[in-house]
């Protein structure tokens, strides 16, 4: 009777566990096995090559590290620009203000759209010959500034970074707003009674209480931005040259372009380790700052 009941309980988790094992656990393990082999994805045999792939990535794959730097640059822009914008907007909305719900509705519109849609629409706005931005510049008499934004190596990466921020700031906005709304209003009132002005209340109450939220948002920003690539595929395809390549695009290129499945997995492992390392540092940092605050 007892055994039958336990078996019945297993039935509840069985579908989830089966799907999870086949489509998550198995590929997860395989990444490590493939990472140590040389395989074109078709041959029956895989050659075990140990750490050769990793050595090649570390020491003789400049495009890979260029893609890493570029993803890092986009992440840096997002961390500073996107999160500052998100915080300012949340702070502006965290009060009795008209149209508040409409603003919130609109700011989260870019995040719900697909990266393909956003990338292709912005690609059209920034198009070199007939794009709207260049036509505006021409109307303002600034046609010398007009350029083909996404095929010019000088501007392509920053354009991608800005559009990425445009698409993403809504997330930070919602999380910051939720955080701001948890700050008890009494704190502000007590400070006002004590004669504090808005600026010192902002500095002494809002900022310290929002640090944990800010760290959470920045962890999410780093993980999300480093791995972003669909938007870039839609805007530039990684070009011109390698100028907007990011790691996930390199992994895809190793797999589909050069049919080096093992090498692609090795790149994935190195990238994953770097991501975990960065989040871990940020997490430690958040623990320390929380301990200080308490």
């Amino acid at each position: 009777m007892k055994i039958k009941s336990t078996l019945e309980n297993y039935l509840f988790v069985l579908p989830a566990v089966i799907i999870f094992s086949i489509f998550y656990i198995y590929p997860f393990m395989q990444v490590f096995l493939l990472g140590m082999s040389d395989w074109d994805g078709i041959s029956v045999t895989k050659a075990f090559v140990g750490l050769t792939n990793f050595k090649e990535i570390m020491f003789s794959d400049p495009p890979w590290w260029q893609s890493m730097r570029q993803a890092g640059w986009i992440t840096l822009v997002a961390l500073i620009f996107q999160n500052a914008l998100a915080f300012l907007l949340a702070w502006a909305c965290d009060r009795e203000i008209r149209l508040k719900n409409y603003y919130r509705l609109i700011f989260f519109l870019p995040p719900i759209l697909s990266e393909v849609v956003v990338g292709l629409v912005w690609g059209w706005l920034l198009e070199g010959n007939y794009g709207l931005l260049n036509s505006w510049l021409a109307n303002l008499g600034l046609s010398h500034l007009a350029r083909s934004w996404l095929t010019d190596p000088k501007t392509a990466l920053n354009c991608v970074a800005i559009v990425h921020c445009w698409k993403g700031f809504g997330w930070g906005f919602l999380i910051f707003l939720a955080g701001l709304q948890t700050i008890p209003r009494e704190l502000y009132e007590a400070a006002r009674v004590d004669g504090a002005n808005s600026w010192s209340m902002f500095r002494k109450i809002t900022i310290p209480l929002m640090i944990p939220v800010a760290i959470l948002v920045s962890i999410l920003t780093v993980l999300g931005t480093m791995q972003a690539f669909v938007l870039i595929t839609a805007m530039t395809g990684g070009g011109p040259g390698y100028h907007t390549e990011v790691p996930v695009l390199r992994i895809l290129a190793s797999m589909r372009g050069s049919s080096r499945f093992g090498y692609a997995c090795a790149q994935g492992i190195i990238f994953g380790v770097i991501l975990i390392f960065i989040s871990f540092i940020q997490y430690r940092f958040s623990k320390r700052s929380q301990a200080k605050g308490a």
Binding site: E115, V121, I175
Partner: protein, 282 residues
């Protein structure tokens, strides 16, 4: 002491500045979408010359063309099919598991649960490579079933987490009453737990639906046949093949964006809830 008029003018000025700031950002969010719709109503020649947002002549036939000849009708139906199947799959599989993790006992329960939670947090950027190989071996690549199963897996961890958190807080009295009335475990899950979980199920549905509708990478890897592709992959393919047909591309993009915007406006309450709850997870 400064007089009250000073404070009043100051407050009004601050308010106006805040509104200008908010309105500017809001306009920048909406304008690209309006430009997309405007461009979709121009012709191959006017799209390059007519820089007005609302074209003088509206070419609604672009949509007819995109839907029929461009094949977007087909891709649209594919996307709808994948989205509904995956969401239904996730609801059943994840609510069964979440209910068990919350209410039932069996050896290894915590191990399984933590495995799911770890999957939510550990990024493995290269795992699509072996996944592709596996699907090939199982003859699931370039099939609808293969894509649906992969996407169910993608949404599983977060959905289990959200539902388990809800079940943990749910009062047990109703379930006890149902048990006394002779209801089986599956009966309780279906007749008691699921109906009570409606608010959190709405969050799970909306988030997974958005996720599947917008998914690109797995669809790109899994489908070779055009007639199986969902919208996102088809749009990229169209852009690559007809690079100058911007008016038709914009019509296609509008077809892909509109349902999402409508769902969003109707369900925004659940989206806000999901984002703020999801944030706590991390």
């Amino acid at each position: 002491m400064k007089n009250p008029v000073y404070y009043k003018t100051k407050r009004i000025t601050v308010n106006i500045l805040i509104h200008i700031f908010l309105l500017t950002v809001a306009a920048s969010c909406i304008f690209p979408l309006l430009w997309m719709v405007g461009s979709s109503l121009k012709t191959q020649s006017t799209i390059f010359s007519d820089m007005s947002l609302i074209p003088r002549q509206m070419h609604w036939d672009n949509y007819y063309w995109a839907w029929k000849e461009g094949g977007f009708g087909r891709y649209f139906i594919n996307s709808i099919f994948y989205t509904t199947s995956v969401v239904i799959g996730i609801i059943i599989v994840s609510s069964l598991a979440a209910y068990a993790f919350s209410r039932l006992n069996f050896p290894g329960k915590n191990l399984f649960f933590y495995a799911f939670m770890a999957a939510m947090m550990i990024p493995i950027p290269g795992s699509f490579v072996p996944l592709y190989v596996l699907l090939n071996k199982l003859h699931l690549r370039n099939t609808q079933l293969g894509y649906i199963l992969c996407m169910i897996n993608v949404g599983l961890s977060t959905s289990i987490f959200l539902l388990k958190t809800f079940f943990d807080k749910m009062p047990r009295e109703l379930e006890d009453a149902a048990r006394i009335d002779g209801c089986s475990k599956f009966g309780i899950w279906w007749n008691v737990a699921l109906p009570l979980a409606k608010p959190v199920l709405a969050v799970v549905v909306v988030f997974n639906a958005l996720n599947v509708w917008n998914e690109y990478l797995l669809a790109l890897l899994i489908f070779d046949s055009k007639h199986l592709m969902p919208l996102q992959v088809a749009l990229m393919k169209f852009h690559g093949e007809y690079i100058t047909q911007y008016h038709l591309l914009m019509a296609g993009l509008t077809i892909a964006a509109l349902p999402i915007i409508i769902v969003y406006v109707l369900m925004q309450k659940y989206i806000v809830k999901g984002v703020t709850q999801g944030a706590i997870v991390g």
